[in-house]
């Protein structure tokens, strides 16, 4: 049984207690301890900056041309914090409870409670850095609602919250670079972990401009490389988002937890053709004001404006009156799929539902008219005022929608459909965010720890920054305190040589295949298998087929992929090939994990396990555990379980009705 090292004592004092008793490293010793951080999104940048401030010698790596490009930048809607600035009944406990419930009781209570505890500090820290959150006229911070909650605890900066938070963390990081505490390696990709005497002691990285391999020593290595949603090829992730760093960690002994827990986000712009390279999210915040509906008649081809009110089915409001359009993502996604599968979908593909702002525009127009004490306005004038308010709240999202689809969402409802967005699974970590390899840590989306089987909106940013700013500075010290006598290990150590040779071999193998099909060809095929058989709904037969299909595809990849160009140069195709090779292994593990979890929970919907009205049916007696997989060789994984004990929240059938 895995030991999560959860501190003893009552839930609400565990973290205080831990901080009061963990080991410390004195400032002089910190200067000789080196830490490697992989990835510079919210988790990586905040960790690198905070550790640099503490005085550790930090090396940070990202594959993009600048740390500011990490995909956290694309997060739109907001960041949760239990500030209770709205006086609407929020508290640390509520945020904790909502997150555990939202995750369908598959998250670790102690981690989630800590997350809720530090959530307020994050907002304070970001404001201090100059992050321009939305404000009210009195100068105080503004909040809005997100799915799965009944309070307003989401802080935001228009539809660009991730951008503003990341630029805050990035500026803190660049400040440490300027001070010489952090050395930044952009356009570098980590291709292996170096282990010495069982501990993580460094990495092998490829300089993406020159193609040269480099060896880097560290007393500890932090994997902050984000999620693996791109295994589906089409997702809302950036094109470069990948699992490679986390997967190399897995192959070096770090367990990979709950890989089948993937989040399909309900509000994305639908696929428009075979050429599609990625999907674009329309923030969940839009569900604050947008109403989701489909025609009551099957195969209705009328325009939205021609369908009268009483012929519209606002199916979320109908099925879930308590939460309405703000049900959690997994619930909203499945409901959209159900309607479309039943023949009520809209648009040319019929794989879409409407997200309609007409009512909100009118409501805001009336409020605005009231504020300005304007009476006797025509409906057109009210709508004009309403559009201005909506533009201020969601302008960038509406513009993006218009650019992509060529349609004006102020005039006609958006068409949306679920798409792969986030991965709750990731490297297994204990309470200290340490993987099963000593000295190897994982933060942010790359780990599995806080969201269970479904993440609530506006919680990813919270977790990334919590891990980086407020957790790792304490827990890493607790490990490094015992490493102060370890001198920097020279990189001509045999373990470095061996790891580098292994990387070289893989690269030569990829370059040497000289097959006939592009990397994208294989990636798209893998994505289709995953989406069809390990997507929004899964069943035993489909998963078994998928495993065989992925094995066959992987074999074909290694026989027939064509990687053009040379090894020792800037070669984006070679980068992609390495990442897709890893996705081809991970995809299989996701299906294996989905197959063993014969229950539905959160984003994992096994068709065999549903309630009479089609909701996810958990099986707590048999599956109340974290599934952590140990890599045992190609296609071979051993399951280790971490039992989930609920002391505060009693698991129940999740209801948003």
């Amino acid at each position: 049984m895995l030991n999560a090292k959860i501190p003893a004592g009552p839930l609400n004092t565990k973290w205080e207690d831990y901080k009061g008793h963990c080991k410390l490293v004195n400032p002089a010793n910190k200067r000789s301890l080196e830490v490697i951080v992989i990835g510079t999104g919210l988790a990586g940048a905040s960790a690198a900056a905070s550790l640099g401030e503490l005085g550790y010698k930090v090396k940070a790596f990202c594959f993009q041309d600048s740390p500011r490009r990490a995909h956290s930048i694309a997060a739109q809607g907001g960041i949760n914090a239990a500030k209770n600035y709205q006086n609407d009944g929020d508290s640390v406990y509520r945020l904790f409870y909502d997150t555990v419930k939202g995750g369908d009781y598959r998250a670790r209570e102690a981690n989630v409670h800590r997350l809720a505890e530090v959530s307020g500090n994050i907002i304070d820290q970001c404001v201090a850095q100059g992050v321009p959150f939305a404000r009210e006229y009195g100068g105080l911070l503004s909040n809005r609602s997100f799915g799965g909650t009944q309070v307003q605890r989401t802080f935001y900066a228009a539809g660009q919250t991730g951008q503003q938070l990341l630029l805050g963390a990035y500026s803190a990081l660049e400040r440490q670079v300027a001070l010489g505490n952090v050395k930044m390696y952009s356009r570098h990709e980590m291709l292996d972990i170096v282990k010495i005497d069982g501990k993580a002691r460094g990495i092998i990285a490829r300089d993406l401009i020159t193609g040269e391999l480099e060896r880097h020593f560290g007393h500890a290595v932090l994997i902050c490389s984000g999620g693996y949603g791109n295994v589906f090829f089409l997702s809302t992730n950036a094109m470069g988002s990948n699992v490679t760093a986390a997967w190399k960690a897995t192959k070096n002994g770090a367990y990979f937890a709950n890989p089948c827990f993937t989040q399909i986000h309900p509000t994305c712009i639908p696929v428009s053709g075979d050429h599609q390279s990625k999907l674009t999210l329309m923030s969940e915040s839009l569900r604050n004001d947008g109403r989701i509906w489909v025609p009551k008649k099957q195969n209705d081809t009328r325009k939205a404006s021609e369908i009268p009110e009483d012929e519209r089915d606002y199916y979320l409001e109908r099925r879930y009156p308590a939460f309405g359009n703000l049900v959690p993502r997994d619930v909203a996604s499945r409901a959209a799929k159900e309607r479309c599968d039943a023949g009520y979908g809209v648009g040319t593909s019929k794989q879409a539902v409407f997200l309609d702002f007409a009512a909100a525009i009118e409501r805001y127009g009336n409020i605005e008219a009231g504020k300005r004490q304007l009476s006797n306005l025509s409906k057109a004038e009210i709508i004009k005022l309403g559009k201005e308010v909506v533009a201020e709240k969601y302008g960038n999202l509406f513009d993006m929608y218009a650019k992509i689809t060529g349609e004006n969402p102020y005039e006609q409802p958006m068409r949306i459909y679920p798409a792969v967005h986030y991965t709750m699974g990731g490297l297994w970590v204990d309470y200290e965010l340490q993987t099963t390899v000593p000295g190897l840590y994982s933060l942010g989306e790359a780990n599995f720890s806080d969201h269970g089987a479904n993440r609530l909106g506006a919680s990813a940013l919270m977790q990334g920054l919590a891990d980086g700013y407020f957790v790792i500075p304490y827990t890493l010290g607790n490990y490094l305190a015992d490493e102060i006598r370890t001198k920097a290990i020279p990189t001509d150590h045999p373990a470095f040589v061996e790891a580098e040779n292994k990387v070289k071999e893989t690269i030569s193998k990829l370059m040497g295949i000289k097959g006939t099909k592009s990397v994208d060809h294989f990636h798209k095929k893998l994505g289709k298998i995953m989406w069809d058989k390990c997507g929004m709904a899964r069943n035993e037969q489909g998963l078994k087929e998928a495993i065989e299909e992925i094995k066959a595809l992987r074999a074909e990849f290694w026989k027939d992929v064509r990687v053009p160009g040379a090894e020792k140069e800037f070669n984006p195709e070679l980068e992609k090939a390495g990442r897709v090779a890893d996705f081809l292994e991970l995809g299989e593990l996701m299906c294996i994990d989905a197959l063993q979890r014969r229950e539905s929970c959160g984003g994992h919907f096994r068709e065999e396990s549903q309630t009479p009205d089609g909701e996810a049916q958990r099986d707590d007696a048999n599956f109340s555990y974290v599934a952590a997989w140990e890599y045992k060789g190609p296609g071979q994984f051993e399951l280790h379980k971490e039992e989930l004990k609920f002391e505060e929240v009693i698991p129940s059938q999740r209801s948003y009705k």
Binding site: S46, Q64, D65, S66, R68, R69, A70, H71, I73, A74, G120, N121, D124, Q125, C126, A128, Q129, G130, P132, F133, A134, R135, E136, G139, L140, A158, Q160, Q164, Y170, S171, A172, E174, R175, V177, M184, I209, T236, A238, M239, G273, H275, Q276, S277, T280, M400, K403, I404, T405, G406, Y469, F470, S518, D520, R562, P564, E569, F570, N571, P572, E573
Partner: protein, 254 residues
């Protein structure tokens, strides 16, 4: 919106590496859907090149939703192409018609050397931020966020400046390759907020000094940067930077 397909001729800058001599190469692509994004059209071209056994074109891109700032193509003489307020990745092919010839170049600026084909080195921007584009506050020092009320108007202006994605289109659009719009966006964001106040003077002086050191040109108030900026960062930020810089020059004690 009506969909249509088109055949296009592309003249694309090819350059093996930083030190090599570059030049245009001509390609043709067929049956491009008007629904595709500009980069998806490049995906089609690259797939075609790989299948023909040729080398694909290297270009920077990542989020493909207009926010990471990585994509950077100079299209028909304009940074990010013909649409206003749009990054290359959000430019869609309905901006073009059947039979068009499209010229695609990398950003052209001495401070942004070409790495390969359409990919340039923009690390100069990171170094400018290092020179002062931050508030010096360590983690854990913050007071409660609402202890610091900020005038909504100023907060909105700061946000509008902070929306800069650091793509470098302003530099590419400028005849002098000036980075003033980029620098002024960061200086403005922090000058408008009380958090940025203590370091206001040194920030303006140091960021401008670094900008000059990186070899960016001077600003002659032409306004091409604002016209081509995909986030429509306002030229008034440059005016504010000038005030900050001059004010700091007069009153700084250093």
């Amino acid at each position: 919106m009506e969909h249509y397909n088109m055949n296009l001729t592309l003249k694309v800058w090819k350059q093996q590496n930083k030190n090599a001599q570059g030049g245009f190469e001509t390609y043709s692509v067929k049956d491009i859907s008007s629904e595709m994004s500009f980069l998806e059209m490049f995906d089609v071209l690259n797939e075609q090149l790989i299948n023909e056994g040729k080398e694909p074109i290297a270009f920077d891109h990542d989020c493909r939703e207009g926010i990471c700032g990585m994509c950077s193509m100079h299209i028909n003489g304009r940074a990010h192409g013909p649409w206003a307020g749009t990054t290359t990745c959000q430019l869609h092919m309905r901006a073009f018609k059947d039979g068009d010839t499209i010229t695609v170049e990398p950003w052209r600026a001495g401070a942004f050397p070409v790495l390969k084909d359409l990919t340039v080195d923009r690390t100069a921007f990171d170094r400018i931020i290092e020179a002062g584009g931050y508030v010096s506050v360590n983690t854990g020092n913050a007071q409660d966020a609402n202890c610091l009320p900020v005038d909504k108007h100023k907060a909105d202006l700061a946000f509008a400046a902070a929306a800069c994605i650091g793509c470098g289109a302003c530099v590419a659009a400028c005849k002098n390759s000036s980075a003033m719009l980029f620098v002024s966006a960061k200086v403005s964001q922090l000058a408008l907020l009380p958090q940025g106040d203590p370091e206001r003077q040194t920030r303006a002086l140091n960021m401008v000094a670094q900008m000059d050191k990186e070899g960016f040109g001077s600003c002659t108030n032409t306004g091409a940067c604002e016209a081509e900026c995909p986030k429509e960062i306002s030229l008034t930020n440059i005016a504010r930077l000038n005030r900050e810089f001059i004010g700091a020059g007069f009153s700084s004690e250093k």
